[in-house]
């Protein structure tokens, strides 16, 4: 891996050398790619690969790296079909540009969307290199084959390196898309191997460049005071004291968009200074009179009560099979439960940050963004310039989890760079991050189930009430979208004849946004908990009950789900809801976790299974509940069927991390609001798991040739239900509201 370039490091660390690019119009054309590290390519048959005469292979990755290893995995795929020598590969991060297709690194879909694109791109390049070699040798292409980085002529021992062939290959016609045969799986060189990430050396040496690390000559630093509640705005301000702080140069008002503000900035007063600390100090001295706006009364304890009241009333029907009301009436046993999940914050370790420069009507930004094309659109919109005048360079992301899909902070930097007439870096504080987030939706749910005399479920009623992400973008959005209800509600997989799923109305008072696994978090918690409650009511072992309620291995009939089921944008033919795969992960997790083996007193195991982002995950949590009610998780076993795997080590890592995030969602994390403002503002009060909470984590990935499913998100949803089911198993107390309150679990 030693030859892999850290693309962004050099251009930033050598910031001083960049100064010539900062003058005049060259800014807009300056590339984020390290030109010193990139050898000039003579062969670039498509958007994703270029080969230099030296043999250096540049692979362009169009998706953002926030820790999933995507820069490595996509490069592996192309390198495999190209038969590149991995040691000669460097990865280049694409700018935000529609020519790359979908770049929104969200929805656990990068491999799914780009697997074939990257394979085709590599195969086409390889085909042209082979043809060039065959011409050189005067033989048929079929007489040639490739080895890592070279074309070889039969058994003759003659070989030509890709670099030697690059110029000739460039003269050949590019084969039509998807026309070149792809390798057989057996011939894969990199796909399926645990390849270390290309950024590993830079990360451990501290030289990897995240958004917050971008530095340009003459750059100013900005810290922004934003409205105390969503939709508030500046009435007036006094910056006299702020301007007295040494290093502070000026203040700039950023206009705020009224709710629903979408991706636009919240507005506020920016303090511009020569360094970050001076900007933060100056900001503390601002005196601002705020117009409180429409959400200054937002109080999550009242709001929770309202959501719960709505969940007790009938809502809009999202799925209906059979006659649930009658089935509930005649059931031998009727079970009912209400579940609650609070707002959560992404709290990426790297707070929001962006650096921008505006010269001659054009804006260039360097941003840790999951969605560079949206950043481009939003900057163009705010500055009222053409998208073609906006260049978005993508750095590494210090965590994303959905927060960095929303480029409000990018637009702030762009606005300030134009106002100040110099490069500006905006750095959010942790308080800014937690107080001005795009929050995971708070949700209340009501479930009812009926069992027949044999303990078999015959009725399932699920009502979910939550503010929709659509409310952040479209005024009057008070119901969940089809996509939101497709995340663990209408795709309820159990073999129950009478089903109704409903959605109640909810207004939003903060910006609601995507957070890793999104609406699967509340829904998998409620569904995974409630099926365990049904198992208890039926007096059955939870694993046996789960298998019986899943029913026979089969593809779920899409007609049961209704036409609005979105299946993560994928076809149900290629990605059916496969009950056989679901059963398989349940059996695997149960077997590997030692399900049924004895545990100490106040320890317990719980299981939950969930399909999301086209991937099947079963979790068995082993928890211990101390006498004071404190819950710990000594161990968790995750069985995963995500279809084919590109990089097994990174897949394992994503599920190890999902176990931790799921643990945080279950036991620690909650954001509450009073008077429109988040009550938690830093890691002292917004809690997540630390190393002392880390379970022994086992991840088992099913060997599969199925189309690839998601990896980044699907591990999170089943974890909180598995934990709460384990608590019930340990101490006989059912937790229905997150995060778990230890006071409720004290020993009597």
């Amino acid at each position: 891996m030693s030859k892999l370039e850290n693309l962004s490091r050099r251009h930033v660390l050598k910031g001083i050398a960049l100064s010539r690019f900062m003058l005049g119009a060259r800014v807009a054309t300056w590339s984020p790619i390290d030109q010193a590290g990139a050898e000039p390519a003579s062969f670039a048959p498509n958007l994703f690969v270029a080969i230099a005469p030296t043999g250096q292979v540049t692979i362009v990755v169009s998706r953002s790296e926030m820790g999933t290893g995507i820069r490595t995995s996509l490069a592996m795929v192309l390198a495999d079909e190209l038969d590149a020598d991995w040691q000669s590969v460097r990865v280049e991060q694409a700018q935000g540009d529609a020519k790359y297709g979908d770049q929104n690194t969200d929805g656990s879909k990068s491999i799914r969307l780009l697997l074939n694109t990257m394979r085709d791109a590599g195969a086409a390049a390889r085909h042209m290199l082979v043809t060039a070699a065959a011409h050189r040798w005067g033989v048929a292409p079929s007489a040639c084959h490739t080895e890592a980085g070279a074309v070889v002529l039969g058994a003759s021992g003659k070989r030509l390196g890709y670099g030697e062939l690059a110029e000739d290959a460039a003269k050949l016609p590019v084969p039509p898309p998807a026309s070149v045969p792809l390798k057989s799986r057996a011939a894969w060189r990199y796909i399926g191997k645990p390849v270390p990430i290309v950024d590993l050396d830079d990360i451990v040496q501290g030289t990897a460049v995240f958004g917050i690390d971008v530095m340009l000559p003459g750059m100013k630093h900005a810290s922004v005071e934003r409205p105390p509640s969503y939709g508030g705005r500046v009435n007036s301000y006094d910056a006299t004291e702020a301007l007295k702080v040494p290093g502070v140069e000026r203040v700039v008002e950023i206009p705020g968009a009224p709710p629903p503000s979408g991706f636009l900035p919240l507005g506020g007063i920016a303090v511009i200074a020569g360094n970050t600390w001076a900007a933060m100090q100056g900001r503390q001295k601002l005196r601002i009179d705020w117009e409180p706006g429409p959400n200054a009364d937002y109080d999550t304890s009242d709001y929770r009560a309202a959501l719960e009241a709505t969940a007790r009333q009938p809502g809009k029907v999202a799925r209906e099979n059979g006659d649930v009301d009658r089935a509930l009436q005649v059931a031998s046993k009727h079970v009912s439960a209400d579940y609650f999940v609070p707002h959560l914050a992404h709290a990426t370790m790297e707070p929001e940050s962006c650096t921008a420069v505006f010269v001659d009507g054009a804006c260039t930004v360097w941003a840790a963004t999951q969605n560079p094309q949206q950043a481009r659109r939003t900057v163009a919109e705010l500055l009222d310039i053409k998208q073609s005048a906006v260049t978005v360079n993508v750095t590494l992301l210090g965590g994303g989890f959905g927060r960095k899909s929303k480029p409000d902070y990018v637009a702030e930097a762009a606005f300030l760079a134009r106002a100040v007439g110099a490069p500006v870096k905006v750095t959010w504080t942790r308080e800014d991050d937690l107080v001005h987030g795009y929050y995971h939706a708070i949700a209340a749910q009501h479930l009812e189930g009926g069992l027949d005399a044999n303990g078999k479920p015959v009725a399932w009623l699920h009502r979910t009430v939550f503010p929709s992400i659509g409310s952040t973008f479209t005024a009057g959005t008070v119901y969940g979208s089809a996509g939101e209800l497709s995340q663990g509600v209408v795709d309820m997989p159990f073999d129950i004849p009478n089903v109704r799923c409903e959605n109640g109305r909810a207004d939003a008072h903060v910006r609601i946004g995507w957070y890793r696994s999104v609406y699967n978090i509340p829904h998998a918690f409620a569904v995974g908990s409630f099926v365990d409650e049904l198992a208890a009511a039926a007096e059955k072992d939870p694993v046996q009950f789960l298998l019986s309620v899943l029913g026979e291995p089969r593809k779920l009939d899409p007609k049961l789900l209704g036409s609005a089921y979105s299946n993560y944008g994928a076809s149900l033919d290629e990605y059916p809801i496969d009950i056989g795969r679901m059963r398989n992960v349940v059996l695997l997790a149960a077997a590997r976790s030692g399900w049924g083996s004895p545990l100490p007193t106040r320890h317990g195991r719980g299981i939950a299974v969930h399909r999301s982002f086209l991937t099947y995950v079963a979790a068995v949590a082993h928890v211990a509940v101390a006498a004071d009610g404190t819950v710990t998780m000594p161990r968790i076993d995750l069985a995963v069927d995500c279809g084919m795997v590109v990089n097994p080590d990174r897949v394992a890592a994503q599920f190890e991390g999902a176990a931790i995030m799921g643990l945080g969602n279950a036991l620690y994390s909650s954001l509450t609001f009073k008077q429109g403002r988040a009550e938690q503002s830093n890691f002292a009060d917004y809690q997540g798991p630390r190393i002392d909470a880390t379970p022994e984590t086992h991840v088992y990935v099913v060997r599969s040739e199925a189309s690839p499913g998601g990896v980044g998100e699907p591990g999170v949803p089943p974890v909180s239900a598995a934990i709460c089911n384990a608590i019930s198993n340990a101490v006989g107390r059912r937790v229905r509201a997150l995060p778990v309150d230890p006071a409720e679990l004290k020993s009597a």
């Binding site: 930033v12 660390l13 910031g15 790296e65 926030m66 820790g67 999933t68 290893g69 645990p194 270390p196 990430i197 950024d199 590993l200 050396d201 990360i203 451990v204 040496q205 501290g206 030289t207 460049v209 995240f210 917050i212 690390d213 530095m215 630093h221 290093g247 360094n275 970050t276 600390w277 001076a278 933060m280 709290a347 990426t348 370790m349 790297e350 707070p351 590494l396 992301l397 210090g398 965590g399 994303g400 750095t427 942790r430 080590d649 890592a653 994503q654 190890e656 991390g657 931790i660 995030m661 830093n682 890691f683 002292a684 997540g688 798991p689 630390r690 190393i691 002392d692 880390t694 022994e696």
Partner: protein
Amino acid sequence: MPDLTVNGVRHSLDADPAMPLLWALRDLLALRGTKFGCGIGACGACIVHLDGQAVRSCITTLEDAVGKQVLTIEGLGMHGEHAVQRAWKAANVPQCGYCQPGQIMQAAALLKQTPKPTEQQIIDAMSGNICRCGTYQRIKTAIHAAAAEEA
């Protein structure tokens, strides 16, 4: 004009002595391996060594650092060859990587003081560092491996 010695190099800084070391390193010396995570010493992303002790540079002022040896991630090992860095690579610890310089600096300080830490000593020493990607299990593995190698 505080004089600061960072990674063996002496710098004379034109800065307020009350400025946190973090921002002096990042903005004034362009040493950006030390990360900002919380500003209140609650996450460990900004950990550096001050005369060999792990400190949180976001709550350590320039004044506190004057006359002491500051070691940052950039100075820890030549080309990432410190035992902790090698162990980190062998275990493929990082996901997004943002918190890892702080984690590595904390781990290096631990091993300097306690070359053969127990599992509990590792947990105690590393509990001040947050990783939102959840790489903790591999962090433990890497620290055990680095300790074994040093032995």
